[in-house]
């Protein structure tokens, strides 16, 4: 038995000689502050699938998930501190606050732990941030709109949860896009909170005061609600940019079958949690050249490929994508080049 162990250790040492370092003994924890909506559920599902395989393949030693009972910052700060005590080598985190966790994150870094944040990122410089390029997504919405509505016209903007960095970034991108396409004009703006019901109410309220609208630029989770509001008011259906939600893509499919309705869909994939996981693994692997701010692409569907993705999305869910180690290495490479 002992001999086997020694042999195993030798083999492990030899194997690690070829790679940079061996991560098969490393433990990665996932600190999550909320699990109560479809996006977060999809995020946890994707994370579970990818990390289970990584543990089975002995890429990492353990990948445990910890969700706090409330959305409170102090609870998550305490959780991070406990993960430090547990002896994890890396913490992947979806943080409750961009700033207020910095104290705990710094303690983790000081204890030699790699911290990779995504979605709800943290500002502490020692942590890594996996950020989706929301600004480009907003800009791309207008670019796509220009293809469907070459003559231009009036646009309605639906914004997300006020005060969040994501809402700011998408909005800035949309403004940039409109500046590059002067044929479009934003004639109204409502807050939809990324929620179909809220968006439907908000759009229904502003509709009577709007001139004719050719398109809606939004942030995802609000496109179907907007479509419902237009239908209820008996107004002509505009080009609504979608956000990868199942109900949105289903509605798009119905409209396409009816009269060849064209639009575009984009959102952050919940599976970005798995990308953060692989980035953490790469850091543990000994890579020193990884930038602390990693910009990763968003997940988009076009007229041609959205129907293929639709059956894979759960009822009421959102389209996701599980990233592989190769995806992570490619994303890191793309960021180093910039």
């Amino acid at each position: 038995m002992k001999k086997l162990l020694v042999l195993g250790a030798l083999a492990a040492m030899l194997a690690s000689g070829t790679a940079l370092a061996d991560t098969s003994g490393k433990k990665i924890a996932f600190s999550n502050n909320y699990a109560g909506n479809s996006w977060r559920q999809a995020m946890l599902d994707s994370y579970g699938i990818v990390t289970k395989k990584a543990v089975d393949d002995k890429v990492v030693g353990a990948a445990d998930v910890f969700t706090t009972a409330d959305k409170e910052v102090p609870t998550q700060a305490a959780q991070v501190q406990n993960l430090i005590l547990q002896g994890y080598d890396a913490i992947v985190i979806n943080a409750a606050s961009p700033d207020a966790l910095n104290g705990a994150i710094k303690q983790a870094c000081d204890a030699g732990i790699t911290v990779v944040s995504f979605d709800g990122t943290v500002t502490e410089p020692c942590a890594y941030r996996v950020v989706v390029d929301f600004k480009d997504m907003g800009k791309q919405e207008v670019e796509q709109m220009a293809k469907f509505q070459p003559k231009g016209g009036n646009l309605l903007e639906i914004r997300g949860l006020a005060g969040t960095s994501i809402d700011d970034a998408i909005h800035a991108g949309i403004l940039e896009g409109v500046a590059a396409h002067p044929e479009f004009k934003i004639v109204g703006s409502v807050t939809g909170d990324w929620d179909q019901t809220t968006a439907q109410k908000a759009v229904a309220t502003i509709l009577p005061s709007l001139p004719d609208v050719v398109g809606i630029v939004d942030q995802g989770g609000d496109g179907y609600g907007a479509a419902q509001a237009f239908a209820a008011a008996g107004k002509p259906r505009p080009t609504i940019i979608m956000g990868n939600r199942q109900d949105e893509l289903k509605w798009w499919k119905e409209q396409k079958e009816k009269d060849g309705y064209k639009t575009w869909s984009a959102s952050i994939a919940p599976g970005v949690s798995t990308l953060a996981f692989w980035v953490a693994q790469q850091v543990l692997d000994g890579r020193k050249d990884i930038p602390h701010d990693l910009l990763v692409p968003y997940l988009a569907f076009t007229q041609d490929d959205f129907e293929a993705a639709l059956p894979n999305i759960k009822e009421g869910g959102v389209a996701t994508h599980e990233y592989t180690q190769e995806d992570a290495i490619a994303a890191i490479k793309a960021n180093i080049k910039q």
Partner: protein, 325 residues
Amino acid sequence: MTAITPGTLPKSSPRGSAARARMLRGLLPALSLALVLIAIAWLNPRAISYFGFNLMLNLAIPIALATIAQMYVIAGNELDLSIGTFVGFVGCVTATWLRDAPLIGILVLIGSIGVYALLGALIHLRNLPSIVVTLGMSFVWQGLAILVLPKPGGKAPDWLLSIMSFKPPYIPFPILAALLIAAVVHFGLMRTSYGVILRGSGGNAAALRRAGWSLLRTKVVLFALTGLFGVLSGMALIGITTSADANIGNGYTLLSIAGVILGGGEFVGGRVSPIGAVLGALTLALAASPLLTFMHIPPDWQVAANGAILIIVLAARVLISRRER
């Protein structure tokens, strides 16, 4: 804490058993804390160290201070449902004004204690239910916090950061702080004559009034003390997190009430225990987070398990107090 040694009384008498139960109640907070610590030591021996206690307990300091704050109003038969958002408001002021313009920051914080004192007066003079008044105030504090700090951020003053990261030799800072808080409040409320009057305002208000004490003043003092400890709690919290968020203290309202009850306090009758309240806060802080993290519960069950631990800890307290009757 006020228990008489049972040995001095005949064992068979009903008074003797009541005294035993009272002592048991006094010991219960310490016992439950010991139990949770043993469980943590068993699950993760590494946590029982200077470094470990520092990490596990430093977020318990603001909870202990908020619990003491809540204890003062409970001593006067009232409840404060705004303490959580008040701590958040103090946090936002601490991370912005107290750093950039210390004078304004100090004035705002003193002013907020004054608001608490006025609330006490209002509740007493108009005979309003404190639950309604403080529930309303919780939205006021939350709104003010968002006004002060619309987006998460800010930074704690450097002196506060260095206090909260102070590393004394041998004894971890959180334990030292907990001992200090418990000792100061215990002396003030349990060992001074005005402390007796304060508790008496919850225990037997009619007797106090007849003896010529101003109940308005006791209520104002109790609420002002709540404000004072709320301020301390918010500052301690920001000293640890280094940066603020308008929602940072929201969970403290219920935690502080649970801490007082777990520490041997009663909702009515002026029966509270400062030492018990501090121990109760430490127990809650440990049971909710470190214990849960170390147990390796599947993620789907973690949220429910957190609630279950709290119920078990509080149920033990209720079982023992029932034996008293």
